[in-house]
């Protein structure tokens, strides 16, 4: 039986792991071997995480029935308001 394993890769120490791709393999040992070959043999990875696909809980539905865009920060310019606030407080920075 062949299983799918998701592989996450850390490029440099301290960096977050990012999804690199997946490998199919019958068990964890083969998955490790194939992940090493595909994502590690050119010294391109500091470390790998190998996770059975069943271990990944996918979430992809984010309903927005009431148009919640007012909760987003984009489109809202803070620059002018910040300037006004600073002037009121007498802490405006000289530019």
């Amino acid at each position: 039986m062949t299983l799918v394993w998701e592989v996450f890769r850390q490029e440099r120490k301290g960096q977050p792991f990012a999804h690199a791709g997946s490998v199919t393999a019958p068990d964890l040992s083969f998955a490790e071997l194939y992940a090493r070959e595909q994502y590690g043999r050119r010294q391109e990875s500091e470390a790998l995480w190998i996770v059975p696909r069943e271990g990944v809980h996918a979430v992809a539905d984010f309903p927005d029935e009431f148009d919640l865009k007012y909760r987003r920060v984009d489109g809202y310019s803070i620059k002018a308001r910040l300037k006004e606030a600073r002037e009121r407080a007498g802490t405006a920075v000289e530019s």
Binding site: T2, A25, P26, S29, L33, Y34, E37, R41
Partner: protein, 228 residues
């Protein structure tokens, strides 16, 4: 059979280099047609590693012989190669490929181990370097052997393949290292191997000439002194 005759450092290095080059070439015949994609990538990578080891060994031998690695790899006649017949065989069938891979890696580990304690620091150093990469080849071979042993059909196929290749596997090593090969292979497989007359170095399988034609065709097509 004079395979036990004392040989120079260059002759010894050529045995290892030729084995690695020809096996690397044979294993690369699976590129594009291995049983599945991940295995294709892995087995091709192993094949490339073997050829990389061959290059390092040829470079060291070339210094002793006053030539270069390319000349040693490609400019000799097929009958001048010092390969063990095991690596020359063309067996494009997966169980045989895995059996040969496993037998070769096991034999290679034994001779590399012996070379790691060589008095010659260059040989010992190169052997240690090769061994670090070979660890992954052995892991690959052992995983596959375990997989094949896990099913009745796989076990049967592996058994047939090992029986066929066993005399060839013995031929990879010098006399004194053969009992260790038997011990390791029997321990891994869990059955007793037959008594067999080793197929030694010094004669070549017909398939080698065929492989040589293809392997050297590009180099032979170019005028001498061509630069790549």
């Amino acid at each position: 059979m004079n395979e036990q005759a004392p040989r120079s450092r260059a002759e010894l290095l050529l045995e290892l280099a030729d084995d690695d080059l020809i096996l690397g070439w044979r294993n690369s015949e699976w590129t594009g047609i291995a049983p599945f994609l991940e295995e294709d990538v892995a087995f091709s990578s192993i094949a490339q590693n073997e050829i990389g080891h061959a290059r390092a060994l040829y470079e060291l031998a070339a210094r002793d012989l006053g030539t270069d690695a390319d000349a040693l790899a490609f400019d000799r006649r097929p009958e001048e190669y010092r390969t063990a017949p095991l690596v020359e065989l063309r067996r494009l069938e997966w169980a045989r490929t895995i059996a040969r891979h496993f037998l070769y890696e096991t034999a290679d580990a034994i001779r590399i181990d012996a070379l790691k304690s060589s008095d010659d620091p260059e040989v010992a150093g190169l052997a240690a370097k090769i061994d670090r990469e070979e660890a992954y080849h052995r892991m690959h071979a052992e995983l596959w052997v375990g997989r094949l042993l896990g099913s009745e059909d796989g076990r049967k196929r592996l058994h047939e393949a090992v029986e066929e290749l066993w005399p060839y596997a013995l031929g990879v090593l010098d006399d004194e290292l053969r009992p260790e090969l038997r011990r390791r292979v029997e321990a891994a497989l869990g059955w007793t191997l037959p008594e067999a007359e080793p197929v030694p170095r010094g004669h070549h399988e017909a398939e080698l000439a065929e492989l040589w034609e293809e392997m050297t065709s590009v180099r032979r097509s170019a005028p001498a002194g061509a630069r790549w």
